[in-house]
């Protein structure tokens, strides 16, 4: 699986971290998302899809499954 994060779009809401904590984190100062794992294992597919769906800035994309 390949995850893409469009950093300039991110609004620092933290929804992705709650949906997929092994894949996303937030920067301390401004809360912008950090992609911890560009190629997460398949067991995280559901969580990543949840993050894609819930991100209020449409900043996350599942480029490959």
């Amino acid at each position: 699986m390949l995850v893409e994060l469009d950093v300039p779009k991110c609004v620092a809401s933290g929804q992705c971290v709650m949906a997929a904590p092994d894949v996303f984190d937030q920067r301390e100062d401004d809360g912008v998302a950090i992609l911890l794992e560009e190629h997460p294992g398949d067991e995280l597919l559901d969580e990543v899809r949840e993050a894609v769906a819930i991100c209020p800035a449409a900043a996350i994309r599942l480029a490959e499954q």
């Binding site: 609004v11 809401s13 937030q26 100062d29 401004d30 769906a53 819930i54 209020p56 449409a58």
Partner: protein, 392 residues
């Protein structure tokens, strides 16, 4: 079938596919554009920082992969619940097995012609074209939308005046003290803010106030709240009253669900009916409605979110969790109000119901979300001795 092709409608359609629905999926939207995001309209699109290319909610390939019967520029004009059909503006009748209503809201307006509103891409581009250095913009309504637009216009060099009917902007939502601190950001930059004034009409010269005075303007933006798009449901038999009335599963009638800005549902977490105009709720509720539509009756889940929103004004990021309206208490629990770096907690009837942060690390406020979701008692969440500001 999903009616309304924006944040809530698209989230619903995507979730139906993700949960394994592989039948015909029709997505009907009256705007000509493929689904796009609204929050940037009053921020990066109005300022010119972003091009419209950055606005679609999904790239074309992802939309295509959903295998939708996508009908753009098509308005739904009627719903027959017993017959399970939706009527479209071109006269066609579309049968459905399950239906999700996600038609959102539209801006309230005032009598008179020539004022801008800010809801659609076309609205944003029309306003952007008129904001030149030195031009006089009057913004009617100093809520979140009005404040964001004022901040962008100020940055573009416009002379901005905000006209607000309440004595303190946003006080009904965030409390008087917090409302005052947020509105100070306008005053600091020389943006004029007149509170306690009611605009009755838009004229060629400007905005006419209740006492007859005309506040002169080159451009006027109305940011005075919104109305749910439910007129097309008038003879459907659905309960409509400030939104489509739903139960805790977001169901409005047998096989008919609603989501997003248009939906009024019973949120069991707070025990009150609410209608939420926040971007995150649109996605969450679209997903929840889709799952409940597909689920067996006993497998449905109540939709019980902690609402979340953000707003960007000048250099401030405002974030809030929970349901702040109608709160009884407000207390500053971290930081300092005057410095516009703080977290404020909100309590309703003995319980923590909300938290709002300004200028703090966005990570800090996530802990408060948990506390609100857990129904933490006010006394426990806010230690005695915390400076309380007065209730709204």
């Amino acid at each position: 079938m999903v009616v309304g092709a924006s944040a809530a409608g698209l989230a619903a359609a995507e979730t139906l596919r993700r949960e394994g629905y592989d039948g015909t999926l029709t997505l009907v939207g009256d705007e000509p554009h493929p689904p796009y995001d609204r929050p940037p309209l009053s921020k990066q699109i109005l300022s010119g920082e972003w091009s419209t290319q950055q606005l679609p909610l999904r790239p074309y390939t992802d939309l295509d992969a959903l295998d939708l019967d996508l009908r753009l520029g098509a308005a739904a004009t009627g719903l027959d619940v017993p017959d399970r059909t939706v009527r479209l503006a071109d006269g066609s009748r579309m049968p459905y097995d399950g239906l999700i209503l996600a038609t959102g809201v539209r801006p309230r307006r005032l009598p008179g012609k020539g004022a801008h509103v800010l809801r659609t891409l076309d609205d944003a581009l029309a306003l952007r074209d008129r904001l030149m250095p030195g031009s006089r913009l009057v913004v009617v309504g100093a809520g979140f939308l009005g404040a964001e637009a004022a901040a962008v216009a100020w940055k573009l060099g416009c002379e901005v005046t905000l006209l607000e009917p309440a004595p303190v902007p946003l006080a009904h939502a965030v409390g008087t003290e917090v409302g005052r601190v947020l509105s100070q950001a306008h005053l600091d930059r020389g943006v004029e803010l007149r509170c306690g004034v009611t605009v009755t009409e838009v004229t060629e010269e400007g905005a006419r106030l209740a006492d007859g005075e005309v506040v002169e303007a080159d451009e006027i933006l109305l940011a005075i709240g919104s109305l749910p798009n439910t007129e097309w449901l008038a003879d459907s038999g659905l309960a409509v009253g400030d939104g489509v009335v739903c139960d805790q599963y977001c169901e409005a009638a047998d096989g008919v669900y609603a989501a997003g800005d248009v939906a009024r549902w019973d949120n069991p977490l707070f025990g009150v009916p609410m209608r939420i105009e926040h971007r995150t709720n649109a996605a969450e509720q679209g997903m929840a409605a889709a799952r409940n539509l597909l689920a067996a009756p006993e497998a449905r889940k109540p939709f019980a979110p902690v609402p979340y929103f953000w707003s960007d004004q000048y250099n401030m990021k405002i974030q809030a969790y929970g349901y702040l309206r109608g709160h009884d208490e407000v207390a500053v629990v971290e930081g300092d109000l005057a410095e516009r770096r703080f977290v404020a907690a909100y309590g309703t009837g003995e319980r923590l119901t909300g938290a709002l942060s300004v200028g703090m690390s966005p990570k800090a406020i996530r802990a408060w979300r948990q506390a609100i979701a857990g129904g933490t008692p006010w006394e426990e969440a806010v230690p005695a001795g915390t400076p309380a500001t007065e209730a709204a």
